[in-house]
């Protein structure tokens, strides 16, 4: 039984067959030694790009099918029925399965707030949405392993619940632009009326749309990963980001926050960093910093909330991911 699981995991998730195939291609097709610097980079690039695109397409398709049952209007209704911590937990969980890119944070924020959802719940959702989604969990399991993937989700959800709750306690409702509360609440909900064919079309459309949006980040991410993997001297990386350097998590945060990339693009970078001896916590902090906070989405949020609330949001999330980095670095031996 466990042998079968290991085999399925290696072949379907880690795609060992693909790695072997690419090795043959690099050796016989390009006449490069896969163990050499160039050969190794070419292998890393081809293998990671193909693997991420296959997994991404399959995952987005299945997840979008599930998502078609949870349009934002329904999420809002479900959340409106709960109160207190339970609502925050639910918001964080729904954040993992709701279609979301930084471009839809504004409509969701206005839609939730104008319908009377507390800021605590809305922010739990806003933190969890880009940070944790089912596709990234499976990819984490593919690149690292299942315990790291599950630990990442758990910690991402805890950060979302605590961050949202904290924002709720600070009573910052007066820091939201007034027009947000005056926006009408429209409730066009199609979740009951959609046929299976429409859900399948929706899922296919999502795959095309998301692949179209993120392919460039994946290519850049894998390219950077391949460069780190074989060209940047290990001594240089360990001086800046080494496990024994207390500042490594801070460097990863400062480098990651302004960056704008999809989690699928940052995974190969994290993968290469960990292979070069960077602490797991440092790599995860970098991933979270890139995906949870980005300049474009901050600029958009600034249009609906005033600076103090935006600063509190950025502050809480930043401190949270720094803490996560240190906790993971201190306990990494449990996961590898």
């Amino acid at each position: 039984m466990s042998d079968l699981f290991v085999w399925l995991n290696d072949q379907l998730l880690r795609m060992q067959w693909l790695a072997d195939l690419v090795t043959v291609l690099v050796r016989d097709g390009f006449s490069l030694d896969p163990a050499s610097q160039i050969g190794g980079s070419v292998h890393f690039f081809i293998y990671d790009v193909i693997k991420i695109f296959i997994l991404l397409s399959v995952l987005i398709f299945s997840i979008s099918y599930v998502q078609s049952y949870f349009p934002p209007e329904r999420t809002r209704r479900i959340l409106g029925q709960r109160q207190g911590l339970g609502a925050n937990v639910l918001a964080a969980l729904l954040g993992t399965i709701t279609p979301f890119c930084s471009c839809s944070s504004i409509p969701l924020f206005i839609g939730f707030t104008s319908a009377g959802l507390p800021l605590a719940v809305t922010f739990s959702f806003l933190i969890s949405s880009p940070l944790v989604d089912l596709a990234s969990v499976i990819l984490l399991a593919s690149i690292f392993n299942w315990s790291i993937a599950l630990a990442y989700v758990t910690i991402g959800l805890v950060l979302a619940v605590l961050g949202g709750t904290l924002i709720g306690y600070l009573k910052l409702e007066n820091q939201v632009e007034a027009f947000v509360f005056q926006s009408p609440v429209s409730d066009h909900d199609h979740d009951g009326a959609i046929s299976r064919r429409e859900r399948l079309t929706y899922a296919t459309d999502q795959v095309t749309e998301i692949v179209h949006r993120v392919w460039i980040y994946i290519l850049i991410g894998v390219g950077v990963g391949a460069a780190i993997h074989n060209w940047i001297p290990e001594t240089f990386i360990s001086v800046v980001l080494g496990q024994d350097k207390w500042w490594s998590v801070l460097v990863a945060t400062v480098a990651g926050v302004p960056m704008y990339a999809d989690i699928f693009g940052t995974l190969p970078i994290a993968e290469a960093l960990v292979q070069k001896g960077v602490g797991l916590g440092t790599a995860l902090t970098f991933m979270m910093a890139v995906t949870a906070l980005s300049l474009p989405s901050m600029i958009m949020l600034k249009r609906v909330v005033k600076l103090p609330l935006l600063a509190v949001f950025i502050g809480i999330v930043t401190v949270g991911i720094i803490l996560i980095g240190y906790i993971f670095n201190a306990t990494a031996h449990l996961f590898v």
């Binding site: 349009p71 934002p72 209007e73 809002r76 279609p99 471009c103 839809s104 504004i106 409509p107 969701l108 924020f109 206005i110 839609g111 104008s114 027009f179 926006s183 009408p184 609440v185 429209s186 066009h188 199609h190 459309d205 749309e209 958009m300 249009r303 609906v304």
Partner: protein, 78 residues
Amino acid sequence: MIIKILGSGCKKCVALGENAKAAAQAAAIDAKIEKVTDIVAIASYGIMSTPGLVIDEKVVSSGRVLSASEIGALLKGS
């Protein structure tokens, strides 16, 4: 009659705009079709998923590309 297409310029919004145009032509209605692309303006209509369709300032659909015949039915109703 003013028909507004709410969406930040995605493929679906273009498709919805074309269906709306076809529906108005088929129903022989003199409709002006406007695109609303500013995300805050879109959200001010209260919708959370694009594309949205607004007929004479009333939101009639969001998150879906309606076919020309569906829009035709809505045009008659308003």
